[in-house]
Structure formats: structure tokens, C-alpha cells
């Protein structure tokens, strides 16, 4: 086994989700086990083929950005200009990233902008924007949105964020379907370890799905699509015998990572660490998961950091509520952790936030970091009849959590497996 490699320090966090805008509101919602899943209006549900979702509703992006106007006036002014008539996802992402940026204190200029990278996690981010453009185009091509050629590109978010924050280091999108967020964290970790950057902004960009994508997911049986009436908060049921598919959620997350040396030199307050990551393919173009592939990703993340499975006290599962996906992940967890799986605390954030697709990895890494920091494990909603008894699933209410290490899994269609190892902040920088 190769020697463990250096971790990255997390110095900024930000999030916009259905259950809360801002880390404080989001954390409170996690603790309370509040679900952002709501029933869609009947006409939308009929068109989308899914009855429920966890949308970012009633979010005033300008008012939210104004919170950061005192700390980052130029960035907020630039965002207001750049994000007008932009894909919604870019607004949510900018709001989350700006929160993380302000929290990190990097705006004070201690690190040259040429030494700060930007990784936007996510591919096919702007599908709703694209469908609106297509409708406009088909109605009358002469009146196509002037910003279509910019906004249809995922990399619009790279350009927009780099202008808003004044970044001049390397930047790119990293796509891996539902594993995108973790892949972005992994990419940032590689850049930091390689010396390409001293700090790196990671944006977990919300996948702005259109009714067409939702319909597609329903068609192949991945998304929950029953039209049975009832409480929308109970239909997302990861690891429960009643699981019947994922529920789409909207969220963007921002994380600022830096090298230990960089954080130490500028006296930054660590919020946690990204200790390692594992990413591997199954050699499979289908949505089918593979326990062997998932286990390989978890083991690779542990090996990357030189951490034994027994040192991990918490696991944020991919846990979408898909019958095959949940069962496969249980096998993989048992394989990696052996008897320790029963002691491990395991939950899925998706019944609260919905499945945030491209952003899921970043949102759940953030959820993991705040749980490690604040020493709680959020409830598993709707887990009444676990499909597996040998795994330490968190119960229906918040539990205390005291562990230094946590894994967070994200698995994408096409056999893209990923796991990141996160660490609770220690006061080593003081």
C-alpha cells in the first residue's frame, strides 16, 4: 500500500438547499430531521412523472447575497450583474460559494489569486435553462435568449465564480453524474497535493433538472413515481423495506480547501479536513450499482489517508432509497467494515434534502463535516424496517456522535463509485 498522503484543510462552508439557506439553517434542519420534500402541483407532477421533490423554493438570491455585502462588496456587486438572466443553479451555487468564501477569510488577500483554484462539480447542470431556451427557439428562433450560448455550458459557473471571487488559478468542471460532488473534492485534493494550488474553491453545483430529466428517471424506475396520496415527507425511505426510488432535491454547496501549510501560515480556523478520496469505475454504462466497486472506492479513500476502517465512526451513505442501490451499498459496507459495521453510525441525508444528483456529494460532505464538528448524527427519516440488521443505522431522532473520521459515499450512473474520508477539525493550527 502506498504511503498515506497529506490531507486538505476545510476552512469555508456554504450551502443553499430545500431545508435551509446558509450553514446554520441547514445544520439546524439536519438536527431536527426536517424534510424539504413536498408534493408538486398536479400539472407539474403529471408532466414530470414524479409526484414529489425537494425544491429550493422562495429563495431570494439577491437578498441572500446581500448578507455578504459587508464582507465582500465587490463580489456581491459582480454576482448581481453576472447572475441576472442566468441559470438558477448558478445563482444557488454562487450563494453557497460566497458564504464559504467569506467564512474562509481568503478574500483578505493572504493567498495570491493565481494560487487559488476552482473546481465546479457537476455535468449537465442547466437542463431547465436549456429546455426554456429550446421552447423559446422552437416558438421563434429570432428571439432566442441572448445568454443561451453562455448559459447552456456548465462552465458558465466556472467563469461566473472566478469573476465574482477574482480567482486566477486553474479552474474546471468535473462531472461524474451523482458522484460529481465527491469527484470535485477529489480533484481539489489532487491539485492541493500536487502543489498546483495553495487553496481551492469547490462548488457542488445544483443539477437544475427539467421535467424531461425527471420523466426520464421515472421511466427507468430510478425515481419514486407512485401517485399514491399521502405525506410527501415519507416517500424517501433509504434502507427501509418500503423504499421505492429516489426523490429529486435541489441544493448547491461550497467548500474552501487549502493545504495545511497555507491554512497554518494565515492562521485560518479549520472546520474539518478532507483526509482522502477513492474513485473507481465498474466498467458498466448502466445505472446498476456494484458492491465490489463501491467497496473498492471506500477502501481506496481509507488507504489514501492511511486510516483503518475501525477508526471510522460515521458513514454518510449514498442511500438514495432505490431498492437495488440500498441493498448493494449494505453489502459493500459490510464488506469494508466487517463486524465494525454494527458499531458504525450510518445515515442518509437524502430523505431530508432529496437526492441532489450532481451536488449530492458536496452537500453530503458538508453535512458530514457539520455533524463531525457539532458531534451529532442526524436522524434517518422513514427507516422503520431496515433491510439490513448488521449496520449501525441512526434511529429516528438525532444521536450524539463522537468520532474523528467519517466516510461519505456517492455513486453515479455508469458505475462511477466515489467515497471521501472527512476528518473532524483538531486545533492543530492554533
Amino acid at each position: 500500500m502506498a504511503a498515506p498522503r497529506e490531507e486538505a484543510v476545510v476552512t469555508g462552508l456554504g450551502v443553499v438547499a430545500s431545508i435551509g439557506a446558509g450553514v446554520a439553517a441547514f445544520t439546524a434542519a439536519l438536527r431536527a430531521g426536517r424534510s424539504g420534500i413536498v408534493r408538486l402541483p398536479a400539472d407539474a407532477a403529471a408532466r414530470c412523472g414524479v409526484p414529489v421533490a425537494a425544491p429550493i423554493a422562495g429563495f431570494d438570491w439577491k437578498a441572500h447575497l446581500a448578507r455578504f455585502a459587508a464582507a465582500a462588496p465587490a463580489a456581491v456587486a459582480a454576482a448581481g450583474r453576472i447572475l441576472r438572466n442566468a441559470p438558477e443553479s448558478a445563482r444557488w451555487t454562487a450563494a453557497a460559494v460566497l458564504e464559504a468564501w467569506v467564512a474562509s477569510g481568503l478574500g483578505a488577500g493572504a493567498v495570491p489569486p493565481e494560487r487559488i483554484g476552482l473546481v465546479v462539480g457537476g455535468n449537465n447542470l442547466h437542463q431547465a435553462f436549456i429546455l426554456r431556451g429550446a421552447e423559446q427557439f422552437l416558438a421563434d428562433a429570432d428571439y432566442l435568449n441572448a445568454r443561451y450560448a453562455l448559459g447552456y455550458l456548465d462552465t458558465f459557473q466556472v467563469g461566473a465564480l472566478s469573476e465574482i471571487l477574482g480567482l486566477r488559478g486553474p479552474g474546471a468542471t468535473v462531472g461524474g453524474a451523482s458522484a460529481s460532488g465527491n469527484l470535485a473534492l477529489w480533484q481539489a485534493l489532487l491539485w492541493l497535493r500536487s502543489g498546483a494550488v495553495d487553496a481551492c474553491v469547490v462548488a457542488g453545483a445544483a443539477g437544475e433538472l427539467s421535467p424531461m430529466e425527471l420523466r426520464g428517471f421515472a421511466l427507468i424506475g430510478a425515481a419514486y413515481s407512485s401517485d399514491a396520496p399521502g405525506d410527501p415527507a415519507i416517500v424517501s425511505r433509504p434502507f427501509d423495506a418500503g423504499h421505492a426510488g429516489f426523490v429529486y432535491g435541489q441544493a448547491s454547496a461550497g467548500l474552501v480547501l487549502e493545504t495545511v501549510a497555507c491554512a497554518r501560515a494565515r492562521g485560518a480556523v479549520p472546520l474539518g479536513g478532507l483526509a482522502g478520496a477513492g474513485v473507481c469505475l465498474d466498467g458498466n454504462h448502466l445505472p446498476d450499482p456494484s458492491a465490489a466497486g463501491e467497496a473498492r472506492a471506500m477502501r481506496a479513500a481509507l488507504a489514501d489517508a492511511g486510516v483503518r476502517p475501525e477508526a471510522v465512526g460515521y458513514l454518510n451513505a449514498h442511500g438514495t432509497g432505490s431498492a437495488i442501490g440500498d441493498a448493494t451499498e449494505c453489502i459493500a459496507i459490510r464488506e469494508v467494515f466487517g463486524p465494525h459495521a454494527a458499531a458504525l453510525r450510518v445515515n442518509s441525508t437524502k430523505p431530508l434534502t432529496g437526492h441532489c444528483i450532481q451536488a449530492a456529494g458536496a452537500v453530503e460532505a458538508l453535512a458530514t463535516l457539520v455533524q463531525l464538528r457539532d458531534r451529532f448524527a442526524h436522524p434517518n427519516l422513514n427507516l422503520e424496517r431496515p433491510i439490513e440488521t448488521g449496520i449501525g443505522f441512526v434511529g429516528g431522532s438525532e444521536e450524539p456522535l463522537d468520532t474523528a473520521f467519517a466516510l461519505s459515499n456517492s455513486f453515479g450512473f455508469g458505475g462511477i463509485n466515489s467515497s471521501v474520508l472527512l476528518r473532524r477539525a483538531e486545533m492543530f493550527l492554533a
Binding site: 456587486a77 448581481g80 450583474r81 441576472r84 438572466n85 429570432d142 428571439y143 435568449n145 441572448a146
Partner: protein
């Protein structure tokens, strides 16, 4: 529709595209560049004004517009032609 009504439409679209530009700054002799518009902003103002007025002007004709008055004149000519 007379030219002052066309200008009113152009002004409203310009104001919606150029965040932070006050209505009083948007006068006929000003160019979009002078008002701070970038290349995409200029396309957006023109497309938005055309859509609101229900006219279609070939992009090549718009090259001649040196300021907002020039844009208004071209849009107005097309409106009149459309009857």
C-alpha cells in the same frame, strides 16, 4: 408607434439588462457601450427590444447604430414597414 414610444421600450429593456444603471442616464445620444454594456448585454438589449416590439431586424443592419437613437431609428423603420 412613434419614435419616443420606441425609445421608451429600448430604455426599459436597457435598464433591465444593465444592473445599476439609473433611468436618467439612459438618453438617446448615449451608446450601450457608454452605459457599460458588454457584447452579450448589447445582443440582449436588441433582442429584448425586438421581441417587445414584435419586429425582426437583421443583425447586419444594426451595425450602423452608433447610439440608442440609432437603434430606435432602425427599430422604428422596421415597425413602420411592418405597418
Amino acid at each position: 408607434m412613434d419614435k419616443s414610444a420606441v425609445f421608451t421600450v429600448v430604455k426599459a429593456v436597457t435598464q433591465s439588462v444593465l444592473v445599476g444603471v439609473e433611468g436618467g442616464q439612459i438618453t438617446p445620444e448615449k451608446s450601450l457601450v457608454q452605459l457599460g454594456a458588454n457584447s452579450i448585454d448589447r445582443v440582449e438589449v436588441v433582442t429584448g427590444a425586438m421581441e417587445q416590439l414584435g419586429v425582426k431586424v437583421p443583425r447586419v443592419e444594426l451595425i450602423g447604430a452608433k447610439n440608442l437613437q440609432g437603434l430606435v431609428d432602425i427599430l422604428h423603420a422596421h415597425l413602420s414597414r411592418a405597418g
